[in-house]
């Protein structure tokens, strides 16, 4: 008899999961290279009661979880900084985190560290690394659409793009980057390389969609909570059977 209460509670916690994902997306509406989360809902197990000739099934609620990310291109924002680069189409920059781990990111806000290496905004080296000679300043660097980094006529290196079979299954590492998992497949060279200099890729979070989803999530949360209230009232009615 208490199953109904738990089914409704499961529905509420599923909506909570969706709301958490929306909050995270909204908080990252200005994060360079951020990709919005996709939330999936599913129903839970069904309890089947067989009685003479009939079978009644009652469900156990719902479950939600983040099933991946929206792969859509974020809007390209002109910054004019020579070391800001953005990827058009598929692919990720491969960087070496200070911990030694490899990470994939679409945030191309690069800068120079003390030794003249090109590093991302959190200080990770590009992989393979690119070093500017001491006499070359950032303003002289030009980055071609195929990733060739040069100063004047001198080629300094090549920015390589990688991709994975299932970008949906990449694991966010909390620094704006992603690590590969068994489900995403290993990183391999991207098929096409299209890089723009002086541009950053904005977050692909769409405020309108997020707001609309937030409203429907809130309403559905409310519906599940009304269901709990009704279930509770029914239990109260059952409890009052012997009150007279």
């Amino acid at each position: 008899m208490l199953e109904g209460l738990y089914a409704a509670a499961a529905g509420m916690s599923a909506q909570q999961e969706q709301l958490d994902a929306i909050s995270n997306d909204l908080a990252n509406v200005s994060t360079t290279g951020y990709k919005a989360q996709r939330v999936g809902f599913e129903d839970l197990l069904y309890n089947q009661v067989n009685q003479a000739g009939t079978s009644t099934t009652t469900g156990a609620g719902a479950l939600a979880g983040i099933i991946g990310r929206d792969g859509a291109q974020g809007s390209l924002q002109q910054t004019g900084r020579p070391l800001d680069i953005a990827i058009e189409g598929e692919g990720y920059f491969q960087v070496k985190l200070p911990s030694g781990q490899t990470s994939l990111t679409r945030n191309g806000a690069l800068s120079l560290d003390g030794q003249g290496h090109l590093v991302t905004s959190d200080g990770s080296l590009l992989d393979p690394p690119i070093t500017l000679p001491a006499k070359v300043s950032a303003a002289e660097v030009s980055i071609a659409s195929d990733g060739t980094v040069s100063a004047g006529v001198t080629k300094l290196g090549q920015i390589q793009l990688v991709t994975v079979a299932a970008p949906d299954k990449l694991l966010a590492d909390g620094h704006g980057g992603f690590t590969t998992t068994a489900a995403s497949g290993a990183a391999k060279a991207a098929g096409t390389v299209q890089i723009q200099q002086g541009v950053l890729e904005g977050s692909n979070v769409d405020m309108g969609t997020e707001m609309a989803t937030m409203m429907s999530t809130q309403r559905n949360y409310q519906l599940a909570s009304s269901a709990i209230k009704t279930q509770d009232q029914m239990l109260a009615i059952a409890n009052q059977l012997r009150s007279s």
Binding site: G40, E42, T56, A165, S184
Partner: protein, 231 residues
């Protein structure tokens, strides 16, 4: 006389089941491709009452409420555009087929993604099948044409959770696949809320009937045969 107690109780049990189903429907108000459940209620067979003194029939009495088998309302719901290249919805009747460890299962939730081996899979990692029952490879740029997905007609689909249905397909479904869209949950929130209130009040009526019969029984057991006036 105490028959009435049990008749009222069957009504309460039936409303409890209805309430549990409505709760599950409301909990799944955001589940893509979810279909609401209904359990019909009908009366138990009537019983003929007869006069114990002379055997003359007096009339019939209903024995309360009996639950029928649960029916899932498979009416297609509206589509909601998501713009995600691997979201699919079936416009009209039919199911997508996925290959699970337990065999082929069917679903109307088309929220798919690519696997590490480049195949189209559902949320649990089960391969999505085409009309010939073969896995589908995600093409360049992470795209799959809607026409590549199989749509099957499953006459007696039974819900088993995780948005999956078991059953056996009998040919191609008449629905067409739309890419970049998901089917909304089939739950009508307003109707479910009204049904919920109605069901709760019916449950309460059952309780009132039981209490009334109980009071009558109490009077019979304490007042019949007593010489002094009650009070």
């Amino acid at each position: 006389m105490d028959l009435g107690l049990y008749i009222a109780a069957t009504g309460m049990v039936a409303e409890q089941t209805r309430q549990d189903q409505l709760t599950n429907d409301l909990a799944n108000a955001s589940t893509p491709g979810y279909k609401p459940d209904h359990t019909p209620q009908r009366s138990f067979g009537e019983m003929l009452l007869s006069n114990t003194a002379n055997g003359q029939p007096v009339g019939t009495i209903d024995m309360g409420v009996q639950l029928g088998s649960t029916v899932t309302d498979m009416t297609p719901a509206g589509m909601h555009d998501t713009g995600q290249p691997l979201d699919f919805g079936i416009v009209g009747p039919g199911f997508f087929a996925v290959k699970t460890a337990q065999g082929v299962r069917y679903t109307r939730d088309g929220q798919f993604s690519a696997s590490a081996t480049g195949q189209l899979v559902d949320q649990a990692g089960n391969q999505v099948l085409d009309q010939q029952g073969k896995p589908i490879t995600v093409g360049a740029g992470g795209q799959v044409a809607g026409s590549a997905l199989g749509v099957f007609e499953v006459p007696k689909a039974v819900k088993q959770g995780e948005n999956l249905y078991s059953g056996s397909a009998s040919g191609k479904g008449t629905g067409s696949v739309r890419q970049g869209a998901l089917e909304e949950s089939g739950v009508d929130a307003a109707k479910a809320m009204v049904d919920m209130i109605g069901s709760m009040r019916t449950y309460q009526s059952g309780q009132q009937a039981i209490q009334a019969i109980d009071q009558t029984l109490q009077a019979a057991s304490t007042q019949v045969g007593s010489l002094s006036a009650p009070g």
